[in-house]
């Protein structure tokens, strides 16, 4: 019993020190969503438990290591006892109660975080290698930037067009995978005006690290103004070139083909139309309408030297109508 007081005192002191240390570190970026408040609250609870359990085990271990070390000249054996059913029972049942309690808290908070809101607005987040795209179905336009009105519950419908991606804005705390063939739902109510970054959290290939999109949480007035501007832009988009430019973004061409002459994964579109292209089989063709059409529909037919085959999806012929393909070609023609 002579060890009981010092050990207890050390555990208590250590618990407070560790908990205070964790608090002072500012471990996470500033929260910016209603759901995040629940998440952060649970994190706080977890950190307190961690501080206590860490101190409990480490203090007792270090104490034993120091106090029960073999002194010089002592050749005896340790105390002889095989265990204690009471103790084992206690440290089975108490942790079991604690984890069930945490399970219960986990359940209620999960229900809070995933609950549908009556006035929520749906936004479709479409992911492709390696770009994000946001469709605002209520207003009929799509955007590369995610604008959100502050205080407005949002339901994100997550879609993936090729491989797995995951939708994560650290400041919003919650994340969900975008799975091909499914529509996963993520609910976020942003509550803090500011600029954030949406990142892809599921390894999705070569440019995974760079798969980001800007997120702007703005006041409701600014949001309405932005929507009006996007709607107007949408109306102006009715030329083939403009539709092509929109397809360049919405179909993910942007992920691999640059507009400024730099090499990403596929050939740049700058100055592409009418230029000679050297192919892997050694021949050279002029990039005319037919060539461009074929390159979109059957990308492996004529592969430009220096670029890998099999990277571009083979199914654009099914995804795009001929009109759309011609719009894209019209757009490419404008890129001198």
């Amino acid at each position: 019993m002579k060890h009981f007081l010092p050990v207890t005192a050390l555990v208590v002191i250590s618990t407070f020190l560790v908990a205070a240390g964790i608090d002072s570190l500012h471990l996470m970026p500033q929260n910016a969503s209603v759901q995040g408040e629940t998440v952060d609250w649970l994190f706080g609870l977890h950190f307190k438990l961690i501080a206590f359990l860490f101190s409990l085990v480490i203090v007792i271990m270090v104490y034993a290591v120091v106090v029960f070390r073999r002194r010089a000249g002592d050749d005896g054996e340790g105390m002889h006892f095989h265990g204690s059913g009471t103790l084992e029972f206690i440290w089975t049942v108490v942790p079991a109660i604690i984890v069930v309690f945490f399970g219960y808290i986990g359940t209620t908070t999960l229900i809070t975080v995933t609950a549908a809101q009556p006035d929520e607005v749906a936004i479709e987040a479409v992911s492709r290698q390696w770009v994000w795209n946001f469709n605002y179905p209520d207003d009929g336009f799509s955007s590369e930037e995610l604008y959100l009105p502050v205080g407005q519950p949002i339901r994100f419908d997550l879609k993936a067009m090729d491989v797995l991606h995951a939708f994560w804005v650290p400041e919003f705390r919650v994340k969900a995978d975008a799975v091909p063939g499914r529509t996963n739902v993520l609910r976020i109510t942003p509550n803090r005006i500011g600029e954030y970054k949406l990142v892809c959290a599921e390894l999705c290939g070569t440019r995974h690290a760079y798969m980001m999109a800007p997120v702007k949480v703005v006041s409701r007035e600014a949001y309405s103004a932005w929507v009006a501007q996007k709607v107007a832009e949408e109306a102006a988009k009715n030329t083939p070139e403009a539709r092509g430019a929109a397809l360049y973004i919405s179909q993910g061409c942007k992920g691999c083909h640059s507009l400024d002459g730099s090499k990403i994964v596929g050939p740049t579109w700058k100055g592409l139309y009418g230029s000679p292209q050297e192919l892997t089989d050694g021949t050279t063709v002029i990039a005319d309408d037919e060539y461009l059409y074929n390159s979109i529909v059957k990308p492996n037919l004529q592969v430009v030297a220096g670029y890998p085959a099999n990277v571009m999806p083979q199914n654009y012929g099914e995804l795009l109508t001929d009109d759309n393909i011609n719009n894209i070609i019209a757009y490419i023609k404008t890129l001198k």
């Binding site: 570190l25 471990l27 996470m28 970026p29 629940t38 977890h46 438990l49 961690i50 359990l53 007792i60 271990m61 034993a64 290591v65 029960f68 073999r70 002592d74 005896g76 054996e77 340790g78 105390m79 002889h80 095989h82 265990g83 103790l87 089975t92 942790p95 079991a96 984890v99 069930v100 945490f102 399970g103 808290i105 986990g106 999960l110 229900i111 995933t114 090729d162 491989v163 797995l164 995951a166 994560w168 650290p170 705390r173 994340k175 969900a176 995978d177 091909p180 063939g181 499914r182 739902v185 970054k197 959290a201 599921e202 390894l203 999705c204 290939g205 070569t206 690290a209 760079y210 980001m212």
Partner: protein
Amino acid sequence: MRTFFKLGFVRGLLGQVLGTLFGMGLVTGTRAALGYDPLWAAEPAWVIGGLLGTLGFMIGVGALTDWAKWAIGVETPMHHGAPAGQPEWTRYFAVDLSHKVIGVQYTVWGIMVLLVGGFLATLFRVELLQPGMQYFTTDRYNTLISAHGIIMISAILLGVGGMINYLVPLMIGASDMAFPRLNAFGFWINVPASLLLITAMFVGGWDTGWTAYPPNSLRTALGGPLFFLGFYTIGISSIVGGLNLLVTVFTMRPPSMNLFRMPIFVWAAVGTSVLQLLATQLVGLAMLMLIVERSLHMGFFTPVLNEAAIALNSPPGDPVLFQHLFWFYSHPAVYVFVLPGLGIISELLPVFARKPLFGYKWIALSSIGIAFLGFLVWAHHMFTSGMSNYLRLPFMYATLIIAVPTGVKFFSWLGTLWGGKLTYPTPMLFVLGAISVFLLGGLTGPPAATITTDLYLHDSYWVVGHFHQTFFGGFMFPFFAAMYYWFPKVTGRKYNEALGKLHFWLMLPSFWVMSLGQIWAGLLGMRRRIADYDPALGVQNIQVWITIAAFVIALSILIGLYNFIVSARSAEVAESNPWRSRSPEWQIPSPIPEHSFAMPLAVVGEPYDYGLPGSVYVRMAPAGAGD
């Protein structure tokens, strides 16, 4: 030179090369016969080549010889000792049926694979020192992290195999494992598998991580299928190893050794083996499905349907199915890695505390409890995959419950330390280090287990930190503890205590720095598996610390290996029981003779009655006596 070409290992390598070439020729020849153009199709050629190369290795090394002889009805008596007319050392490079040789083979090959995996880690740690790409392309980086993952996993499985194969038959007084030939097969299949994994890095690599999630893994480069094949082959080793151990423990104990008088490590080995035997099949299946989906376009995991499938009204494939199959193995695999390590901790603590293991039965049953619960928690790796709450919640509860048996282990270890006469030679230091590190892993688990907080932590660096803590605390530290502890038994010589302590005091603090850095980076919002990070996250300083710590860990491991190699060759001869252990393997000479126990064992006491005057655990009894 003649000796060199007679080594099974060398013949195996030749066999693998020939088998690979034959497989490639087979594919190309078939394509020629069927009139396909072009003749060379890289993927089927490499897959069939890899498969036949593995077979070629196993034929070349001689792991299949006895079974082939059995098939044609030739007697195959057990062979003991080096191959006829060859020096003693050659048996370590050939198929040998002694579990002691196989244990050493597992361990040494495991350490070599570990060095490869560690080397890859140092490479990409350098890349992460600063934002932007400095040394690699993103593709090369992705290959490095993927290869680091799977190569380390195979290294850990090899280390686990080494400890189990060497120790368990000795601890239960068995002459050998139940199926010595299967045992040798189980080790040697790892060698072509490791080579497949390393080859995969050089034929295009793959960028899926070790988890190989489709559809990305269906589109990745040629390294992908070779990685699937290598993973599958490692799985075969796990299955036969687990099977062999279970039979050994259940049938080859002396009659006087009941289940609760086995050394505690044997319990851990049983838990591990059950998981290996049963769960591994599922990841094998998942890998096989990936291979056939890639080569035959069987749409298990792609939601896209062709016209014929639409006409059939066929449902689409689903990428999430793969995750279920994969994690049904790969979560229990974590317990395959850590249970033996936790067993080592429980085994060594009483020896260095000079008192009985606190709560033997509770620790033993907690191993089985963890193994059992391990089957019920796989979907916590998929909390963000879009499962409904009704599915997610039971997995959350099951995951949290695992904290209970794990806690029992921790508190029982503290109970074992309490009131002992503790000494701190290197193995004990590693055991204490393991407890502290595994504690970190245990404490960073629950926030990832409650779904609400996991929605933040999932796929972040927190997870990276968490599993490195569990693997270092549950495997690496106990593994080195075991290496130092049984070194005198295996080699008959003493290791260098000063170098051992240097190893420990470099490795422990640097690991703490590394893993706490990873945890912190994760909380700041850093994702896993990214080649480049956003400077705005403010994690660059942390990355520098992690990288420095990683290099110190690498240095400390090299010091440890230097110690082992030099000491094994020229150090002082050790006494047969330097730790005054009660376990059977310490009651016989070091190094252990070919037939370990001259006389059958009789268990006459409790395994961990340290400090009880006059009591012994086992007695070597002439046949028929005892019990």
